[in-house]
Symmetry: D2
Subunit: 406 residues, 4 copies
Amino acid sequence: MIDRAYALFEEQQQARGINLDLVKQKLQQLRIETPSWGYGDSGTRFKVYQKNGVPRTPLEKMEDAAQVHALTGLAPSVAIHIPWDKVEDYGKLRSHAESLGLRIGAVNPNLFQDDDYMLGSVTNSDAIIRRKATNHLLECVDIAKETGSRDISLWFADGTNYPGQGHIRKRKAWMYEALEELYKKLIPQMRMLIEYKSFEPAFYHTDLADWGMAYQMAMKLGPQAEVLVDTGHHAQGTNVEHIVAYLIDEKRLGGFHFNARKYADDDLIVGSMNPYELFLIFYQIISASEDQDASIVQTVNNIAYMIDQSHNIEQKIPAMIRSVLNVQTQFAKALLVNHAEVEAAQARNDVLGAEDAVRQAYECDVTPLLHMIREEQHLPLNPMKAYLEGSYDQAIQVRGKGGASW
Amino acid sequence: MIDRAYALFEEQQQARGINLDLVKQKLQQLRIETPSWGYGDSGTRFKVYQKNGVPRTPLEKMEDAAQVHALTGLAPSVAIHIPWDKVEDYGKLRSHAESLGLRIGAVNPNLFQDDDYMLGSVTNSDAIIRRKATNHLLECVDIAKETGSRDISLWFADGTNYPGQGHIRKRKAWMYEALEELYKKLIPQMRMLIEYKSFEPAFYHTDLADWGMAYQMAMKLGPQAEVLVDTGHHAQGTNVEHIVAYLIDEKRLGGFHFNARKYADDDLIVGSMNPYELFLIFYQIISASEDQDASIVQTVNNIAYMIDQSHNIEQKIPAMIRSVLNVQTQFAKALLVNHAEVEAAQARNDVLGAEDAVRQAYECDVTPLLHMIREEQHLPLNPMKAYLEGSYDQAIQVRGKGGASW
Amino acid sequence: MIDRAYALFEEQQQARGINLDLVKQKLQQLRIETPSWGYGDSGTRFKVYQKNGVPRTPLEKMEDAAQVHALTGLAPSVAIHIPWDKVEDYGKLRSHAESLGLRIGAVNPNLFQDDDYMLGSVTNSDAIIRRKATNHLLECVDIAKETGSRDISLWFADGTNYPGQGHIRKRKAWMYEALEELYKKLIPQMRMLIEYKSFEPAFYHTDLADWGMAYQMAMKLGPQAEVLVDTGHHAQGTNVEHIVAYLIDEKRLGGFHFNARKYADDDLIVGSMNPYELFLIFYQIISASEDQDASIVQTVNNIAYMIDQSHNIEQKIPAMIRSVLNVQTQFAKALLVNHAEVEAAQARNDVLGAEDAVRQAYECDVTPLLHMIREEQHLPLNPMKAYLEGSYDQAIQVRGKGGASW
Amino acid sequence: MIDRAYALFEEQQQARGINLDLVKQKLQQLRIETPSWGYGDSGTRFKVYQKNGVPRTPLEKMEDAAQVHALTGLAPSVAIHIPWDKVEDYGKLRSHAESLGLRIGAVNPNLFQDDDYMLGSVTNSDAIIRRKATNHLLECVDIAKETGSRDISLWFADGTNYPGQGHIRKRKAWMYEALEELYKKLIPQMRMLIEYKSFEPAFYHTDLADWGMAYQMAMKLGPQAEVLVDTGHHAQGTNVEHIVAYLIDEKRLGGFHFNARKYADDDLIVGSMNPYELFLIFYQIISASEDQDASIVQTVNNIAYMIDQSHNIEQKIPAMIRSVLNVQTQFAKALLVNHAEVEAAQARNDVLGAEDAVRQAYECDVTPLLHMIREEQHLPLNPMKAYLEGSYDQAIQVRGKGGASW
């Protein structure tokens, strides 16, 4: 049935004017980074439910991540979070990862769990705390050198809960000071990815609240600073794909933290709430990847796709498999947009025709295509089923409860 | 200055047609319940910062609550949360409270922190877990009998994170089953207050998501079931005072959980983000308190005003003092609305006149009035200053860190 | 290719345990009412762009609607709006519709365009205006008798723009009074569908603001009163399918006004913004249609599916074709959910398994199924293409600009 | 009573450490521009209700605006909208204004009411339409020269309603092209104010959707380009005062369009929904006005305060009087913040103390202060009462209905 399904799919896509060889090539290049912390326990402010079998050490997190990659072929790198993944010897962590077929991805500082940071880390009104926070940022550059990581991924919980609590413009200056010091320490092949978030844990103002603030900082810092878009960090009624297109056009889109949400920063499995939005994000990206401006194409090629979720109730490894598969599915669909057709409709101001040309790609079932890709890469056709039927999950139960957590 | 300020205030209000004797009488009757858990540590999913001096036991929580009441005269009762406030002998807890000039208020079951409840408590698909959850509800009625509490205050975290995860209509039936069993156990003078919440910790659907669901349950259960409005549990762009007026009119408004929010359920100090909204809520309530229908008036008189906040960064006792004072301030302002004037403007369809009549009351500075009330009650004019300059805060530092928390 | 595609589709669905005969039968029963006003000019407060060829009379609107039905087989009835569709002789309008293969659907009163209604129609503080408004409601029942319509579809713009402008509880009583008078005039086979809306054109409070208010009114009125869900009339972050399931369970879901939105009540083509939400609504409906309780099944069978959109920039007839096709597509996908599989996963608390079972149906491409249905009904395989290549659109250009509009 | 009230107020503010002379001086400098279109009919997409007495010509609009200024002393300039205010001889319009004690303020192009602009003006895919739109922008610079206006105020309705309808990045380039051409035509003393809006009338994407996009354009254009903040043009859950502070700090805040909203862009009377937000905006502005950086102070001094509302149901002139008074009230309150006290609390990380210091100023009743200011300026103490009791409103009734409108 798989071959017949693919044959039919091929025929249909050719009829739509789609070059499947190119599609397959781009699909094979898709890489999604999974986060070490996505394998540990996490939860809500009401409760963190501890799961049996979660990894107890950074090394075990790598082992779980290796499973996801082995079954999907999509996730060859793992982001780390310091100090959650603090180890004596990062060279050893790196070798361990490499021995599992992985590499260490982005390094994420943590500036929101030390008592000193309650009212701000790099934007604290206390200079000693700001110094401590900036030192931690610098430490992460050192770690990145050891792990061979390209990206320092920066999310700041800094903000205030009440009007008057902090001096907004002073805090802005302090934020820039810290970023500038970090920026100067970057080696040429490194990038600084600046994340923004509309709220939580700060409930009045967040120092870097939207893409505009992250972008303004990045512009002022220099070309190695780019913006990181977390899909759940926007106010309701924000067109995320518009921001994506805008940042690409300004050559400042560094990467994504993927997740899904229906309400606030729900951190659910990417693609599970409004999959069309994810498709439309990829539509903008793929459209830009065919731009005549080489620097736009380069920006697109350097986008880091990363998962950042909080699996409150899900089994950890299956949730991560589902996540990377959902990304792959929407990416594949977006590759089926016939851009020439869309642009022709746009040129003649044919609203419904242009919309239809985009939506049609979304409505395709890409299962035959994904099956073919997996077959060619000697991967299980159904990675989730393969995991659930495999022995790994059984084997890790011995770890017990109380492993790594936020 | 205080006497002169009050004299002038009196003159101004008389000119506005306000009967200050009545205002003062109603102000003196204002009672706001504080929650035992508001004195302990709480936080966000990112971090709970431990404060020095937080109470270590239910008894110590009562002592802290007694401070708030002693200084403000507003908070004579304390809501408890089971099992956070579980004690061997509730009679002893009650006596302790009474010895401090307090009484035990609403009893709040907790159905969101046991491992069994990860996917639902009373709406879990597992009948054994549902039974356990319902038993806990019943236990709370027993406790309420011992503590002399009138209200069982019900918030359920029950819901799902993904489409398909739960059978929405089955869960609705299970919810009703549990509530019905609880309802039957209530003694005549007891009430069941049903709270709703749009989301969190459930991120796809929450079994009791809005006032309509809580109301429908209450209607079906009977007259001792009423709705509890938590001011932070609505979608953005919800007119909360409209819901309040609607529920009063249907004689189903049982009480409030007060707090403030700018984004989601931020659980900040009530009145700190949009104080006008709090004023407008009280405007609806006070307007109804003068209704010709005695059952409407009775509904209003029985409304339980309760604080329910999460003080992530604030000092606990000062935050609670600020909270009850903010409620008192907006309540006082709402008492200054000249309803006859508003209704005359409404009757002649004078939009701006009616709006002005309401807003004018809000723009009054009620400090002279509150000073007078406090003076008459032998309370400190500035309760916050009195607390900060008193010795209690110093005395409790000996408790150290790591006290009670969520 | 079509036959091969269907053969493969059939095989795939059988492998998923889906009974395609049943699916096809339900698909053939799908009926979507289009609104007469959807064929005329409409716009935003900034501008109504006049299109060439829009119908000039109610009769011409029927002709346009007949095109949509002729090409899709989905839209055999047309909702009318009084006085926009006011005619001397409703019998003649009905005959005209019937001669085109259509019937007249829901009758919609209009209580928001007369100068008298600026500050409210049935909730105006002026009794004379209330009387006039109620009379219009009663007139609509008379019209419904003549047109043979089952449903009176009620949307009220009534509300206020400022705090204090109106007396919320009095207005509630006036609303009920009017509805009650209308209710008493219904003949047994008629239904009153009560719509709600969170805001617009009222910007402070809307008298019927949410499903809870519409439901409370319906409950009090009696069994012929039901709730009408307009998919765009909710605050952001509302789970619409939850409300749908809740209302079905209470046997009070009377129908839908379908449209799509990204921000407020954008009134875009249904299924164009978040098609998964539309699918999930149908998933709840179809799940309930298999309930063991016959009254639940009856509720589902009586749901009126209606389009209610504002085509600001789109060509009118193509926009309507796209709308009913989008509904058909998501309805078809929802029919492919294997409920036994979902419920088995729910029963074993398998979060990811249950989610996957629902999402899998959504990811199916239902084009082969829809082609087969159309072939069997002797309809064009691609109704949009058939319309665009047909002569009708050319023929109506003679109508010129300035036809019917809001 | 007024003198006694002021004496007491003075005493109280001195006790709070406030220099009332400075406060009064700043209050006297407050200038709020009213929009010519705010005096004409406007409404919602459902209905524009025509009011009796609305101005029929640009000259009559000036006369109405002059009333507002005469009674409040706050509104000496009037923004105009082209072509709504198109006249043969702008010199004559200017003289007329000046003869009434007014000057012409910002010039606002209109690019959303010509049929050509249905799918975009400066971002239309049709180069001829883009040219026409840009020409209109250039025409407005010419008009501004004649009227002596400093600011060209730019709001674009440009955007799309559906995914795929427009090429987002191409449209971005077209937007910049038009702005650049306009920018080059500015004379040195002119400014271009770039407004943004999250949605409406475009419902999928708006070309300039948020402050970040407006800011990026302004940065690229040069120092005469600044951002215009319309208080109603943000997603729910946006901290507007944070954006204000950010833009001031970047020296790119050019002005405001003031209005209030509870839901979307409701365009209600400023300060009527959440007055605390307006106060907090002014708190940021006034705080910056005392900055040591002279360019920050200069930015603040050049902020254009403008009303931009849509009075759907209100009487036009009274609504405008209320609007400027509400702005004055919150501005006055914000002047009472003791910045030294706030900053001292911030420095010691005293969350509640800092919040209290800000909120205290808000809770002051500034009526005595405003009365004194008005007395000193020989203005009526209660401008609204003066208007309603005056003869102007009676006199304009002769204009009849059907005057100027959107």
